[in-house]
């Protein structure tokens, strides 16, 4: 921490430097007389420069005969000879040509109007408004068709990005490309400092992403980092500090708990377990485990600037987030140094370096136990029983055998130290004005080291660890990309524009690990001895291995436009991947797209509509996202004993598939973009349909095959269909500026073909719910639906119970009693069994969307961001125990009023029973399915800009994240964590640490 501050101080000093003889002042305004802050003022042929302040005022010391160059993005650059003057007011003229936004696409960039495919842009400034470890959090609700699925509220949690639904079963994360360098699958955006981000470009359809071929089937997120601009150095300092709060979950106290435990027995005709008179303990485990507020800190310093030859942008950032538990935190320090060298008129060199350090301690997954443990147990043993026990053994064992969460947390020791270094070198050589050769080398090395100490402790004879253990796990990954491209751009006869690109690409990823552990650290409590060298025990484990994934590719792309009216893009990529058997190694991916600017046509005349564009595209991308072991039949080894001696035993550990091949996704996109009233109002609408073929899937074969684990197979075809719409309104009225952005998206992903043997793909086997899978993807149906029994209320009386029979009068639920659930005998065969399982819910929303509003009045700015989903179901897993006390776990406060009793016949949940002979809580059923629609105020911020001498800009703000959530969902957080595999995991609330409310104060300074 101290070191981080020193580095930040160092950067601060860089900002101050300017020496000259003569002072020139003035105000810079635009054609409407509005001051322009941030204009760069350069003394020509020197490096002496300045920038205008908030009111457009500037001040620069120059020689008498100097010439000043005023430049600002979007305006024509102006040169003014000083000629001895001391006051030089300047009026800058807008340059409409220069305003043309440049958009980064794969292996190049184009003007926005050259884009014929579906690309969403999110600007860095919108990202930086959210204080979070992971910039992806801030993407939620910002772009149509892009969903951000939370992975809970633990520090450093990494959410999943989902672009336009699901067409594949294996990993739905898009490809991340940072400044042109493809990053390994599953890269968490944690490594990025949000303040370094210039923008995100999300390539949503295949006509945009096909250039990334085999790794692009889940979309591509292109991230550009900020680069230096010619002119005076600018230093930005951003600081924010806040508190995170977890919403309390109220559990039953001792009285209610004892009543529930006893009722569970007396309802079965058994004896009550506890006599309330014997208990005077009433532990509120939430208060014992959860800290109300946990701090979050973010500090960031950036400096950028440049001269004719060298531009730079450099930053360091520090981020610290604590969990609401005694253990669990996440810290990172990132640095970035982006430099552009103009070596000659023809040669440009870019060199980006970005080292980063992350340290974290895993946040305990303690919520589950703290909800379940009984309130009759004290946290600690009484002093008298602690004699002879070490500090990890002073925690009481609970009455209901749920591990004491306070003790568990106290005994958790793990810390990860992560070091990453990213380097990106790009050389551009303009061979002729039209022809450019580029060579790019991206290197990414990461090293993570996790230390885990398991102390010796004793709670009860069978809750103890007799010997402590120290483990160190190290992972080293190295990957590189080498891209060599040739680009040809030419305009012929002023109307025909063409842009051709060809290239050869290498992409290599290496994974390496070494894990070791040893028993018997001599001192259980001395942290200085928690190293392998200190351990003395005989129990030693060592594991290590290495893996390599390589892709070799050739790409070609042609862009052609005619008279700024018709635009055409075609691309072709050929990939060869080491993940597939030799014969199936090659995949070809192609795309074509077309756009028509109707407003550029002579016949189109409108005073209202100033932009109207139609676009269509088709494309093909691939997916190789399957275990590299998928094609191999491997043998693993183990130990066995003959005659008292250990011998090696071996076995088939991986059942391969030698026919494994590429999954391809074809997609169609059609869209319209339009804007009205001089672009004050803009609207876009897109419809898409994506179809996958040869879907890669890790299939669990019937267990009678004796095949261990999963088998990689190409199993069929998924189709994902939907629309994205975006509506924006930006208007400036005097001192008042309003910006509104609303987007809404729909998506439906279904299985359209499944290979024989895989007509039903299951996920999430729950042993406690009858060992059944609770997720299903079935032919013709939406993928990843909830699966189980339907219920039809609760048996209210014996008459209802007696009438629940098959046609021949036999009871369908012979073990049911009044107060139990009535299950639906779907096939009406008079038996309640696996043939009655059916779809009971859909975790995917009918639509989801976001609303961002930015308002500015004079010095005050206000912004808020809403996100919501509608029509999605959540599987409320905690409700399988919160109202039943299964295995005598604690229940929710007020559960007694929510379970059926003869007096409470309107209850949602069935009667309390320990035997549960009816299987109320031993079957997946719609009892646990709830509407998960919600609307959440993700971010709200109020800022005030003020003037301080020496600073170009000072802004103070207060902000809140997740302050308000509107939902009917009865669980803790409707924004349920996604889990690893979206189809199998999404939509199930497993009581992971919920998203926290965060209150922040912040300061932005510009020097």
């Amino acid at each position: 921490m101290k070191r981080a501050i020193l580095i930040i101080m160092g950067f601060l000093l860089v900002g101050f430097s300017a020496v000259a003889q003569h002072t020139v002042k003035g105000t810079i305004k635009d054609e409407n007389g509005q001051p322009i802050p941030g204009v760069n003022i350069l003394e020509k042929n020197t490096t002496n420069s300045a920038a205008s302040d908030l009111d457009g005022n500037y001040l620069i010391k120059v020689g008498n005969k100097a010439t000043l160059v005023f430049s600002y993005i979007g305006f024509k650059t102006q040169e003014v000879v000083v000629n001895g003057r001391q006051m030089i007011p300047v009026k800058l003229i807008e340059d409409s040509a220069q305003l043309e936004e440049v958009v980064v696409i794969g292996y190049g960039s184009v003007r926005r109007d050259e884009i014929t495919s579906s690309i969403s842009t999110v600007k860095g400034e919108d990202i930086a408004k959210t204080t979070a470890s992971n910039p992806a959090e801030a993407l939620q609700g910002k772009a149509a068709g892009v969903q951000v699925l939370s992975s809970g509220g633990s520090p450093g949690a990494s959410p999943q990005i989902l672009v336009r639904g699901i067409t594949t079963n294996n990993g739905s994360q898009p490809l991340i490309v940072l400044d042109g360098v493809m990053l390994p699958d599953g890269t968490s955006l944690n490594f990025l400092n949000p303040a370094d981000i210039e923008n995100f470009q999300i390539l949503k359809d295949a006509s945009a992403s096909a250039i990334y071929g085999s790794r692009a089937s889940n979309g591509v997120v292109l991230i550009s980092t900020k680069r230096g601009k010619e002119g005076k150095s600018i230093v930005n300092v951003d600081l924010s500090y806040g508190m995170q709060q977890m919403q309390k979950i109220n559990m039953a106290g001792a009285d209610e708990y004892i009543k529930v435990v006893n009722l569970r027995r007396t309802n079965d005709g058994a004896q009550p377990l506890y006599d309330p008179a014997n208990f005077n303990t009433d532990t509120d485990w939430w208060n014992e485990v959860i800290e109300n507020y946990a701090p979050i800190t973010n500090a960031n310093v950036r400096a950028s600037g440049g001269s004719e030859k060298i531009n730079y942008a450099a930053s360091v950032s520090f981020f610290d987030q604590q969990s609401n538990y005694d253990k669990g935190w996440y810290q990172k320090v990132t640095g970035r140094f982006n430099v552009d060298f103009k070596i000659s008129d023809k040669i440009k060199l870019k060199q980006d370096l970005s080292p980063r350090v992350e340290r974290y301690e895993n946040t305990p997954a303690a919520l589950y136990n703290l909800l379940r443990i009984d309130p009759l147990t004290e946290v600690y043993l009484p002093q008298s029983e602690r004699v002879g026990r070490n500090i990890y053994s002073i925690y009481a064992a609970s009455k209901n055998n749920v591990p004491n969460p306070v003790g568990n947390i106290a005994r958790q020791f793990n810390e990860t130290f992560f070091f990453g270094f990213f380097s990106n070198t790009q050389l551009d050589y303009k061979i002729t004005p039209e022809l450019t050769f580029s060579s790019q080398l991206g290197l990414n090395v990461t090293n993570a080291q996790t230390d885990v100490f398991t102390p010796q402790y004793f709670t009860t004879p069978n809750q103890q660890n007799e010997i402590n253990n120290i483990a160190r796990n190290t992972n080293r990954n190295f990957d590189y990309v080498l891209n060599n491209t040739i680009n040809f751009k030419k305009t012929i006869k002023e109307k025909h524009y063409m842009n051709l690109l060809g290239g050869i690409l290498y992409d290599a990823q290496n994974y390496n690990y070494l894990n070791a552990s040893r028993d018997g650290v001599p001192d259980n409590e001395n942290p200085d001895l928690r190293y392998l060298d200190a351990a003395q025990g005989e129990g030693i484990t060592v594991n290590g291995n290495e893996a390599q994934d390589n892709i070799f590719s050739a790409i070609f792309r042609a862009i052609y436009s005619y008279d700024n009216k018709y635009y055409f893009t075609g691309s072709l990529r050929r990939d060869q991947s080491s993940r597939f058997p030799k014969d199936n190694r090659t995949g070809n991916f192609k795309s074509a797209s077309f756009a028509w600017d109707i407003d550029s046509e002579d016949f189109f005349k409108s005073s209202v509509i100033n932009n109207l564009r139609l676009k269509v595209g088709i494309g093909e991308v691939g997916n190789q996202n399957i275990s590299r072991a998928g094609q191999f039949f491997s043998v693993g080894s183990d130990s066995y004993v003959f005659n008292g001696e250990r011998v090696v035993s071996s076995f088939l550990s991986q059942f391969g598939n030698t026919n494994l091949k590429w999954e391809t996704v074809r997609d169609k996109n059609i869209g319209i973009e339009t804007s009205f009233f001089d672009s004050a109002l803009d609207f876009s609408f897109e419809y898409y349909k994506k179809t996958s073929k040869d879907l890669l899937f890790n299939v669990e074969l019937p267990n009678y095959t004796g095949i261990p684990g999963l088998v990689a197979q190409n199993v069929g075809s998924f189709e994902s269909e939907g629309f994205d719409a975006q509506l924006g309104y930006n208007k400036k009225m005097g001192d008042f500026t309003l910006g509104l952005n609303f987007n809404i998206s729909t998506n439906k992903s279904k299985a359209v073909a499944l290979a024989p043997g895989n007509e039903q793909i299951f996920g999430q086997n729950r042993p406690d719910l009858g060992g059944r899978f609770i997720k299903i993807s079935e032919l013709g149906q939406t993928v990843g639906l909830f699966y189980g029994f339907k219920t039809n209320g609760i048996f209210q009386n014996q008459t209802e119970l007696n009438s629940h029979t098959s046609n021949d009068g036999t009871a369908i639920q012979p073990n049911a009693k009044v107060g139990d659930l009535r299950f639906v005998d779907k096939n009406k065969d008079g038996l309640l069994n696996d043939n009655d399982l059916q779809v009971i819910g859909n975790p995917f929303a009918d639509f989801y969307g976001g609303l961002t509003a930015n308002l500015q009045y004079k010095n005050i700015d206000f912004s808020m961001q809403w996100y919501g989903t509608y029509g999605n179901d959540v599987f409320n897993y905690p409700s399988t125990f919160l109202y039943s006390g299964v295995q005598d776990v604690n229940v929710a406060e007020g559960a007694l009023n929510k379970v059926w009793t003869p007096e409470n016949t309107g209850a949602k949940y069935p009667r309390l029973t320990q035997l549960d002979r009816n299987g109320n809580y031993q079957r997946p059923s719609d009892l646990f399915i709830e509407d998960g629609s919600y609307l959440r105020l993700r971010n709200v911020q109020l800022g005030y800009n003020f003037n301080i001498k020496g600073f170009q800009k000072c802004r103070f703000y207060i902000s809140g994240q997740n302050l308000l959530t509107l939902t009917k969902y009865s669980g803790f957080d409707p924004e349920v964590a996604a889990g690893g595999n979206v189809i199998n995991d999404f939509g199930i609330d497993y009581a992971r640490n919920p998203v926290t409310k965060t209150y922040l104060l912040g300061l932005n300074l510009t020097l």
Partner: protein
């Protein structure tokens, strides 16, 4: 400057040409041997055979042995025992309030089929290896023996199960469409496999010492005798059991207390056992049962505690020698462990205040740490006393009471009990059955015996369990056991839910029904 760039381009082009794409793209799976060339050496083939044995008890406590333990709890010998953790998937099953989703059913099923596939791969690959013919025959014999062992376990628990007998069928799409075979077909396969094993396996005495623990001809004959007994093929059962008895390969342990001992590995009585040792480096090659079955007051989990009904059976026979080596009681000394004068069975968490002595390790003989997977107590699947009693039972039903009584007498002689040589008819049958209960108590035999033994066509399980079952009546009406009648966290009515129309088979794991898309049909009543 141009030269530098030119140089760069040349370098890059050079790299591209030189870097052979085939080398770049042919990435092996590192750190893993491949099946295709694995059987090229005899050492590897032997290691693969060893891997089949690994599945007999599973890699840890839960794959196979815990279901055996639950099965024993579903008899009159054991309570579920652990009253601190009422678990529907353990306590529920043992009380015949059966929870089909139990992960122990599922892992037992899965474990056994993985074992079968390991055997099938060996049977597929071993014939092509160039090794000494006798070793090749032995390995094939081992694979067939173990495959039969797995199917026998499956058919006794679940009824007719899908049959997979080759490795190659796993590569065909039709493997997904298997259905359950008939019980008769499964037994036919088991008999064939055991015949092959008998024809190929050496005698125990023919193995070098280092191979003790491998399947022997005697083990295959013993298992086949048990298979025939289960099928009620009395004559064949008697013949095969007799072959083992007369082979001279096995003797009864002179001291009953020495059968289960950390100091007695591959003892003279042991016919097929899984050997366990203490090895701190390879942590799962020691026994699990001393912990999973041990008292909660003695570092155990407390699953399964002997019933007073079982204790009464010993007492009624005046059988103290076996009683003291079978049941430990709370507050009493432990036979054979001088360090324990008053055993802590933790009655507040133990239904009967009793613990299994057979899987108990005397304090002085315990490793440190005393943890599951690290205890050197063997697990015996087949021993001579079992075979003698198979012989006795088969001979009785084969109308050869004389042979039956001779075998019965051998077993009783060892524990100094007299044998009434005048016994005939039902009295003789009941004496043999009772002897089996006492001799093999808590060794995971009783459950299968009660399912197969019938009186007037009614399986004995149905006479012991169910609303009118003798065990249920004893506990609810007669018993005055101070522990059992006071710790009611496990109901005295255990077994009252037994329903003979469904509970002679366990449910097929629902997961398997789903994975087979309904091709595997559930057993009736579940």
């Amino acid at each position: 400057m141009k030269k530098i760039v030119l140089l760069c381009i040349i370098c890059v082009s050079f790299l591209m040409v030189c870097c052979n794409n085939e080398d770049f793209l042919d990435q092996p799976l590192r750190g893993r041997q491949q099946l295709d060339d694995y059987f090229s050496t005899p050492q590897n083939a032997e290691a693969f055979i060893n891997g089949i044995y690994k599945k007999v008890n599973g890699e840890s406590w839960w794959q196979a042995n815990f279901q055996r333990q639950i099965n024993d709890m579903a008899t009159d010998d054991n309570w579920s025992g652990n009253t601190a953790q009422p678990r529907p998937d353990i306590s529920g099953i043992s009380a015949y309030n059966v929870f089909p989703g139990s992960q122990y059913f599922n892992s037992f099923w899965e474990n056994h089929y993985i074992g079968i596939t390991r055997a099938n791969i060996s049977i597929d690959r071993i014939p092509a290896i160039e090794i000494e013919e006798s070793i090749k025959r032995r390995m094939l014999g081992e694979a067939h023996f173990l495959r039969a062992f797995f199917y026998f376990d499956l058919v006794r628990n679940f009824g007719g199960v899908p049959i997979v007998t080759t490795y190659t069928e796993l590569l065909e799409p039709a493997i997904n469409d298997k259905t359950r075979s008939s019980v008769a077909d499964v037994y036919k396969l088991i008999e064939e496999d055991l015949q092959i094993a008998i024809n190929n396996l050496p005698l125990r005495s023919e193995y070098p010492a280092k191979d003790l623990g491998r399947a022997t001809k005697g083990a295959a004959q013993s298992l086949l005798a048990k298979v025939y007994l289960t099928e009620e093929k009395w004559a064949l059962a008697q013949t095969n059991a007799n072959d083992v008895i007369v082979s001279g390969e096995y003797q009864l342990e002179p001291d009953f207390a020495n059968i289960y001992s950390v100091d007695n590995h591959h003892g003279v009585e042991s016919i097929f056992e899984i050997d366990y040792i203490n090895n701190p480096v390879f942590q799962e090659i020691g026994a699990q049962l001393p912990i999973t079955n041990g008292s909660r007051g003695d570092q155990g989990w407390g699953w399964g505690s002997p019933t007073s009904d079982l204790e009464n059976a010993f007492l009624s026979e005046g059988d103290n020698i076996r009683l003291r080596s079978t049941i430990i009681k709370h507050g009493e000394p432990v036979y054979g462990d001088p360090d324990v004068t008053s055993f802590n069975a933790l009655p507040s968490e133990n239904k009967s205040g009793r613990t299994n002595r057979k899987y108990y390790v005397p304090v002085a003989k315990r490793p440190v740490p005393y943890a599951r997977g690290q205890i050197a107590l063997p697990y015996i699947h087949l021993r001579l006393a079992d075979v003698l009693l198979i012989h006795a039972e088969a001979a009785y039903f084969n109308n050869d009471p004389t042979s039956a009584k001779l075998s019965l007498k051998k077993v009783r002689d060892r524990v100094q009990l007299p044998t009434d040589m005048s016994l005939t008819g039902i009295a003789l049958r009941d004496a043999i059955w009772k002897e089996r209960r006492l001799e093999l108590a808590l060794e995971h035999q009783r459950f299968y015996d009660l399912r197969r033994q019938k009186i007037d066509g009614i399986p004995r399980m149905a006479l012991i369990m169910g609303p009118n079952g003798s065990f249920v009546k004893y506990n609810t009406q007669i018993s005055t056991d101070p522990y059992e009648t006071t710790n009611l966290n496990e109901s005295q009515e255990k077994g009252i839910f037994f329903d003979v129309s469904k509970h002679l088979l366990w449910p097929i794991p629902p997961k398997e029904i789903q994975l087979s898309r309904g091709n595997i049909v559930q057993n009736p009543g579940y």
